[in-house]
Symmetry: C2
Subunit: 280 residues, 2 copies
Amino acid sequence: MAHTRSYLAAFQGEKGAFSHSAALKLLGAHTRTTGYASFKDVFEALGSGSVDYGVVPIENTLHGSIHENYDYLLEYNFAISGETSVRISHHLIAMPGVRFRSIHHVYSHPVAINQCRVFFWKYKKIQPFPFYDTAGSVKMLTEQKLPNAGALASEAAAEIYGGVILKRNVEDDRMNFTRFFLLTKQATPRRRARGEWKTSVVFSTENVPGALFKAMACFALRDVNLTKIESRPLRGKPWEYLFYVDMRGHKDDKPVRSALAHLTETTQFFRILGSYRPTP
Amino acid sequence: MAHTRSYLAAFQGEKGAFSHSAALKLLGAHTRTTGYASFKDVFEALGSGSVDYGVVPIENTLHGSIHENYDYLLEYNFAISGETSVRISHHLIAMPGVRFRSIHHVYSHPVAINQCRVFFWKYKKIQPFPFYDTAGSVKMLTEQKLPNAGALASEAAAEIYGGVILKRNVEDDRMNFTRFFLLTKQATPRRRARGEWKTSVVFSTENVPGALFKAMACFALRDVNLTKIESRPLRGKPWEYLFYVDMRGHKDDKPVRSALAHLTETTQFFRILGSYRPTP
């Protein structure tokens, strides 16, 4: 999507965080962005009109779905207007001039530390210290000019805060990607763009045997390809569930439109979350 | 299930925790139990033979699945041998003799504090303090004889540590239940017990359109009633998933046996996690 520079996008974390990279990838490198402390703050900022876009992670290939954001998708009723995925690479970053052998402690978000266990196992003299944010740990150590400290964060964080990368890709597992949604208050009208579209919906079925199978049949009978199904508990109805489904195609495409019309016959609750073009 | 008293069951937390209540409900009030610091420790204890049973929470009606334990089910390859659910009720507990009006701070697990927001909104002079465990917070305040402190925990925790309940059911939402699995190293042979059985399986499908629909058809074509479906990311294969499915019936019942035989034709990976009788 191309935009003028006056638009503002909210993400969670400090500049240089993976959510920040996702925002720039989705909206362009010159987009104005603003970081918030929590995912809920990002949704609130979009709801209040303080920002034009919200960018939130929705799933990671190692850890699974970020359920808090699935729940907010339902609560806030915004439109999913874009999607991208970002490769999560952790680099060891330090102040300029600091050598690897002088580093005795390394700061990062606990999830990042946990994704670099082999590194800490290999270099036993280096102690990990949990910090609130990956990019924030680089910001802290360059601001405080810490001579014996490193941080695990992205290349963007090193650039933004003036750190240098001492070791690249210290993460254990390279198949580490996070998928992000671009959110807007209103659904964007369909563009004439060709190529790939995806659609996300959320629904609950009646609590009868075979209800989910019937819902899935709506898609299978029209060869609509599902890419993800996620269940979340339905509040106030113990052991009943909401289902979030992602599929290939635009909601106005004939097979998707027919599948969704059929789906409304078999569901108790149904909402289209958005049709969007993945940004490669 | 009835057992002799010599068996030992592992759970996460302190005695009086909801996992402890689940263990007693599953195995009888006189079962010997031992608390561990983490869920992983419970799985390790069962694997090493230190305990005969592990009891772990698998989902909560407000928060959803406990994915860490889903992942361990796959990793450790134990058998699910029982299931129960426990109503989560938080009571305000204090030292004997302490009056409600003298309480200025309340300790509990952050999840419990978050489930009692209305209480803290109503009594603004009372400050919440996060603690590592619900039952552990009662243990701490009775051991240290804190005169101005309360804890949010279960009735069992009040009894075990000699606290008194000052206010009952201070949780916001009463539809708050947690479902627990009873785990054993080996699957128990089928008993002749009648009544309700459930079976849990985990599988991955081929990454082709309609694969999950075909898997679901195995059950629907035999009227096997699915009670839960949960997806988790497949490590090393970004955007592919494992599915955990719970169903009514024993794995040796004709319709379930046929459905699972059919399922093996359409899945890449398939494992039966266990057949078990729910403890009401």
